[in-house]
Symmetry: C2
Subunit: 430 residues, 2 copies
């Protein structure tokens, strides 16, 4: 982990440090495009073909059966069930607080405006496969979808070589009330949800993480007007620590990020050089014990630390970096919250480890990476709704607003716009 | 305007009617890509080059001077100023109500979660040029940007052949507090705001309407991670009318949509066939008087009406169509609001013409077209902010949530995630 001194960094060096490693889609785009095109044209036939090619299994039926779900629910150990139930409760509690009834505003006498939430009717959730299942993703996407009231919530996830989905995934989906689970993975799953096939119906918005093909497919379907949760990049954490921080805690947090993947960034911004060194030593102690040592090592080696003179410098750097996860392992951390401008999710104080938020604190773990926190929010219940605006004018409203509207329409050269108001204005006068 | 009977429409015919005319970007994409690339590499030099090519004017300085703004403010007639001031007040009042402080949620004892709004620091607004100026766009984008608290709000708009910006645009920008206005239009303006040039600084999110090159440029920069307001298509209205509707009002509203452009759709969904015929006749009367007759005629000819047996059918069709603007010119219109699932903005009752919302009722006129209302909201103050989540665990929180987090990390095979919690859990126990 390379060390930098904030005072020695000029703007261009800060920009360079804040730049994430480039994602090169050049090779991925043509492959993904051909998958999208094939699924668009050939539907289920294409899905079957890719299932055989990528998942090494030939399926005639992609839909997970009721029986499979029941078995999963029976087989998951109760201790595990309990953990997921507690997480669900917390996530539900926080996400329920996110959509509120809004007030009716009378902008002028006789003119009222208001907004109402409407669930996105059909949403698709993607849950990646891989070496270990990711049931937490099911909670983080399924819970807000259900709270929002989405009528159709479908899920795609790749099967293993036996054509099965991990039982913990099925149990979690059952827990949050997702009934349509399809054994389809990769870019072809995104294509199926975006364009629809005979088996999988088209949705209006697609959520969820995935490999570069999935990410690329989401990006491509979004240019076709299918909404997606947000653009994606490798996961990352930035930890601001002061001299009081427990170095073992900080090291553990950096490593919990680093184990995600070799492109994950774990950035330490510390107001104390001795503490920085202490953390780096502690990383060396902890890292060797990790099963995912190789991944974590490569990621840590690519990451960096910045030594700052004070917390203002540290927060300024963090705002430039716009981390997905920001941990404040500092004294009186609450005092600094209002200075944070760009971050996905913030973990306040020494006891708030990222893994708490990844799983069970209640916040969502689907967050903007890659600096996107400068313009994007993480997934919330709001991600599953639209806000529709309403307005109502009565006769008084027409009298009060009429001339304003007519004047403005006149200036924009839109005579029919003017007429639509004038015809009412005159009708009321008479 | 072709007439359909809802009872005779099967699902595939409804789908066909709800499909907007395809936007073919095939020719536009390569041109737009080369503009983006050129601006990315050559910055201001490229902007100057395109200014000469497209706007027929060679500018050495793109920034509108203080002098130009002052002159504009002096020259705009007071009656016009007054109209814009009233509109501003209404829009401000409604948009101020849209961002709220959220409560702190204790998901379990010792674990608190909350969200806070943070303005997107840098935003860019695009205001198209053309035959008539569009100062209402300045209000609709500038007001929420300022309410949100965006630190840097810049605006790009094409100059006329004399290198000038319409005075009403400059006055409106002054009114809402936009100070940096650049005489740059088209795809090159989007490129400049997305990637930055020496004169125009890079922003994090780009808003505003435009021609197909602007739309395409926004789509392309969005795949580079620059946020955009929403995907765009031609403007449209759907009017639900019953036998009580004033046919002149309905015709005027359809025409106010049709005059926008030849691809604009004006859809009439009526529960009474006689009323439909009355409206169509009234269109013939009103349309001939319009300065934009040709445009309106072509648009109306391409549009259609649907005759329904009752309002439930009418609303069902509207929900499938997902109109940008939905006018409810029906008795007891309030009763039907909760049945509306997909729409950008809804105009309730006979006096609520679309032009009221286009200009001054208080709602935003930047709305999802092309069926995007199924998944997207219109622009609001929320479009200019991010929601950052925060969580804080104290020692009690670690005790209460610790085992849950460790169990879930274990299941996902993420040992370092488990460690980060375990190290704290054990520290508290001792």
């Amino acid at each position: 982990m390379k060390k930098y001194y904030f005072e020695k960094l000029d703007t261009s060096k800060i920009d360079e440090l804040c730049k994430r490693s480039a994602i090169n889609f050049d090779k991925v785009i043509p492959i993904t495009k051909s998958i999208l095109e094939n699924v668009k044209i050939n539907g289920d036939k294409a899905l079957k073909e890719y299932g055989l090619k990528f998942d090494k299994v030939s399926l005639d039926n992609f839909l997970v059966s009721k029986n499979e779900i029941e078995n999963a629910c029976n087989n998951v150990p109760s201790e595990t069930k309990n953990a997921f139930l507690i997480a669900k409760k917390n996530i539900e509690k926080f996400h329920k607080s996110q959509v509120k009834k809004e007030q009716i505003i009378e902008t002028m006498s006789g003119v009222t405006c208001f907004r109402e939430s409407r669930a996105i009717e059909k949403v698709g959730l993607y849950v990646p496969g891989g070496t270990a299942p990711l049931p937490s993703t099911v909670l983080m996407l399924g819970i807000p979808a259900k709270i929002a009231g989405c009528e159709e919530v479908i899920m795609c996830t790749p099967p293993n070589i036996d054509g099965k989905i991990p039982e913990i995934i099925l149990f979690t989906a059952y827990l949050v009330g997702i009934k349509k689970i399809y054994k389809v993975g990769g870019a072809q799953a995104i294509a199926a949800m975006a364009y629809g096939t005979k088996t999988i119906s088209k949705v209006y918005k697609i959520f969820g993480p995935g490999n570069q093909y999935v990410t690329c497919a989401k990006m491509l379907v979004s240019t076709d007007g299918i909404a997606i949760d947000m653009p994606a990049g490798p996961s990352e954490v930035l930890i601001i620590a002061d001299k009081n921080a427990n170095a073992s805690f900080v090291a553990a947090d950096l490593l919990s990020q680093a184990e995600h993947g070799v492109d994950s960034q774990a950035v330490l911004v510390c107001t104390d050089e001795n503490k920085t060194d202490e953390v780096l030593k502690e990383i060396d102690v902890q890292i060797v014990k990790l099963p995912r040592y190789k991944i974590a090592k490569e990621s840590i080696d690519k990451s960096f630390s910045v030594i700052c003179k004070n917390l203002d410098e540290a927060i300024s750097f963090s705002n430039s970096y716009a981390p997905e996860h920001l941990i404040l392992n500092i004294k009186k951390s609450d005092k600094y919250l209002e200075k944070i401008k760009n971050a996905g999710s913030v973990f306040i104080g020494q006891y708030s480890c990222e893994s708490a938020g990844d799983y069970a604190s209640g916040t969502n773990h689907t967050l903007p990476t890659y600096g996107y926190a400068k313009a994007f929010s993480g997934v919330s219940t709001n991600s599953f709704i639209k806000q529709v605006t309403f307005q109502k004018l009565n006769a008084d409203g027409v009298k009060n607003i009429g001339k304003t509207v007519m004047k403005m329409a006149e200036i924009e050269g839109l005579t029919a716009h003017k007429n639509a108001m004038e015809i009412r204005f005159n009708a009321i006068k008479n």
